[in-house]
């Protein structure tokens, strides 16, 4: 049993079930990120943990205490909202201590708590301002401060960074990560930004259509996605997925694909059990960073396959250069080092790190290897 247990939880609005049998156990001190496309039910699940939405069936318990039907204010959780939801008529200081005041904490204790948190978040100078007089990043910090002063068991964040510009978002992401490392409070964090999910979390729950598609560490999610949805949703640029056929030569399995000119290319599988799929169609997943030039290929890899193919488009992106090429009738993105000398239309030698290849069943879309 974990610290925060979500067991067999479903949610229906009328006859429509929007969350199906969600099962997640969160350990104390974990940073769980719920990620998924818009409308998949992330906010609904978070609001159910908060007690702002009822639970249709199943149980949610914190520290072994079942929370179904317990009022939000009695769950000892704090929430940071997407819009920050700062009280516009109160100063920063009043905003942050409102929760303590409502819980009957006396003024002197409130002031001590406020001082600590204000120092931690560098809000000391802003305590007498109204939210309207703050910048986006400052408001975000106040919203976190309001959650922090309560010293809750669990923090809930609903897309707290989505209203910030790109630069500030990266800064605040680091701030949140630092804060978690310092305080070690259990956090459940909703986002639809997969980079945020990968960088912040200790574990990720990838959701789609009301189902948890996969629950695992960022590395598990990234390297061994449970199915095609998780594979293509996590990672930027997205994983390349090409239709291929398995064939064996002397019992060794190969993926057969066709290159841009319609010529066959054979890529040896690193996973020997792929021989069981001899003659069958599969989907081959290759992340952009596993498709490079031979010099840029991973030196620790045991299985690098090379082939020549024409480059369609080049996109220099500062730290890397992305090139698009055609394989198996699909556009495929390769990630090259920034100073690689390439031009569109040119023939180029590509290297595939087959150790990192992921294979999916084209019918069920589940991962079959590794």
């Amino acid at each position: 049993m974990g610290f925060l247990d979500i067991s067999n939880v479903t949610k229906s609005y009328g006859t429509v079930e929007v969350l199906h049998q969600v099962d997640i156990n969160v350990e104390e001190g974990e940073f769980l990120v719920l990620v998924g496309p818009s409308g998949c039910g992330k906010s609904t699940l978070l609001n159910m943990i908060a007690g702002l939405e009822g639970i249709t069936s199943g149980d949610i318990s914190i520290k072994g205490r079942v929370m179904n039907g317990v009022h939000p204010s009695n769950r000892n959780i704090a929430m940071v909202f997407q819009s920050y939801a700062l009280y516009p008529n109160m100063t920063v200081g009043q905003n942050m201590t409102f929760g303590l005041e409502m819980h009957g904490v006396e003024k002197s204790k409130r002031d001590v708590a406020l001082k600590d948190v204000a120092k931690l978040l560098q809000l000391d100078q802003l305590l007498d301002r109204k939210p309207g007089q703050l910048s986006g990043g400052q408001r975000q910090r106040v919203a976190m401060g309001r959650a922090l002063v309560r010293d809750p068991d669990v923090f809930l964040f609903d897309e707290p960074l989505s209203n910030l510009d790109a630069k500030l978002r990266v800064d605040m992401r680091t701030e949140i990560k630092k804060l978690h490392e310092k305080l070690k409070t259990t956090i459940v964090y909703v986002t639809h930004d997969q980079i945020e999910a990968l960088t912040l979390s200790t574990r990720i729950a990838v959701m789609n259509g009301g189902y948890v598609q996969q629950l695992g560490t960022p590395k598990e999610i990234y390297d061994t996605p449970a199915n095609l949805f998780v594979a293509t949703f996590m990672g930027s640029p997205a994983m390349n997925v090409l239709p291929a056929k398995v064939s064996t030569i002397d019992g060794v399995p190969y993926a057969q694909i066709i290159d841009g000119e319609g010529q066959p290319v054979s890529l040896r599988f690193s996973q020997e059990n792929m021989a069981d799929w001899d003659g069958k169609d599969i989907l081959l997943g290759i992340r952009p960073e596993a498709l490079t030039d031979p010099e840029g290929a991973d030196r620790k890899s045991t299985n690098i396959a090379t082939f020549h193919n024409a480059i369609d488009v080049t996109e220099p992106a500062g730290s890397d250069t992305f090139v698009t090429t055609t394989l198996g009738d699909a556009d495929v993105i390769a990630r090259l080092r920034a100073d690689t000398d390439v031009a569109s239309g040119q023939m180029f030698e590509f290297a595939v790190n087959m150790d990192k290849a992921v294979v999916f069943d084209p019918v069920s879309e589940q991962r079959i290897a590794p």
């Binding site: 908060a50 939000p72 204010s73 929430m79 009280y87 929760g99 409502m102």
Partner: protein, 292 residues
């Protein structure tokens, strides 16, 4: 060649501008004229009115008509002046406005932030009450007031005006609170604030503009009401009914100067409310329509 201007005014020539101002001035004078006539004639002795020009300034200035209208003029059969009725009106209008505004705010809060089954139907019915003509409810209202023992009293009038006003005030507050972010209410809930605390501490402090609208609306309507006052006022009739009795009294000479003074007295409170709160009025009506 045109020069780019900073402001967003429509560019007009000098002549056009002068013309616009002239027209506006004419309209302003036209609207102010009746008020001018009232003020001027309320400051004249009666013989100057009957024998002279209504538009002329007084030869002999006097505040006697005002004093008379206030404290000694014949209202119906009693020579009490308007003073007791003015007090009646105040005693009626203050609680009626306060209660109906407060109820409207509470209704708006519940209808937007504590949704329940059938809330839109309830709101529809409340709205419907705004369109019921006064005359239709006179007899049922009289019956009810009689049954609960409030007929002919100020509390009875307060009740009538609250019941009639609550539809409007609910409409105002509901629309205002609809634009109020629900996340704020949820945040307050998580902070441990209950139903009324959220109302007092979170909603009401930001309801200034719409409260001004509601107060002005209710104040003018309740103060200016004649029909309910005449029907249910009994011994505690409001100012409007008294003014009517003053002007319509059939005995003796018609003291027009006193009538003018009385009419201004009756209009003064609403005028005051507009002057004090008027600039917030437009702001409140516009609130929510433009983000800012």
């Amino acid at each position: 060649m045109s020069i780019a201007t900073q402001d967003t005014d429509v560019n007009t020539g000098k002549i056009a501008r002068t013309f616009i101002y002239l027209v506006l001035l004419v309209f302003a004078l036209f609207y102010l004229l009746p008020f001018f006539v009232m003020v001027v004639n309320s400051l004249k002795p009666l013989d100057e009115i009957t024998g002279g020009n209504m538009m002329a300034l007084p030869d002999k200035w006097t505040i006697q008509p005002w004093l008379s209208a206030w404290s000694s003029a014949q209202i119906g059969v009693e020579p009490t002046g308007l003073k007791p009725y003015f007090v009646n009106s105040i005693l009626m209008v203050v609680p009626a406005v306060a209660i109906s505004t407060f109820l409207g705010a509470l209704n708006g809060y519940v209808l937007t932030k504590w949704r329940f089954k059938g809330d839109t139907i309830l709101f529809g019915l409340l709205l419907f009450s705004c369109f019921i003509p006064f005359q239709i409810v006179l007899i049922p209202m009289a019956t009810i007031l009689g049954k609960i023992g409030l007929a002919g009293s100020i509390p009875g009038l307060v009740l009538v005006h609250v019941v009639y006003g609550v539809g409007f005030t609910t409409l105002y507050y509901r629309n205002y609170y609809a634009a109020f972010p629900t996340e704020l209410v949820r945040a307050a809930m998580m902070d441990g604030a209950g139903f009324f605390r959220i109302f007092w501490r979170i909603m009401l402090p930001v309801s200034g503009p719409i409260t001004v609208v509601s107060v002005i609306w209710q104040f003018t309507n309740v103060w200016n009401d004649f029909l309910f006052g005449a029907s249910f006022g009994g011994q505690s009739q409001p100012m409007t009914v008294a003014l009517n009795n003053l002007v319509q009294s059939s005995t003796g000479v018609k003291e027009y100067n006193v009538h003018f003074a009385g009419a201004i007295l009756a209009a003064l409170p609403t005028l005051l409310v507009y002057i004090v709160a008027g600039r917030y009025f437009v702001r409140g009506l516009m609130a929510g329509s433009v983000k800012g």
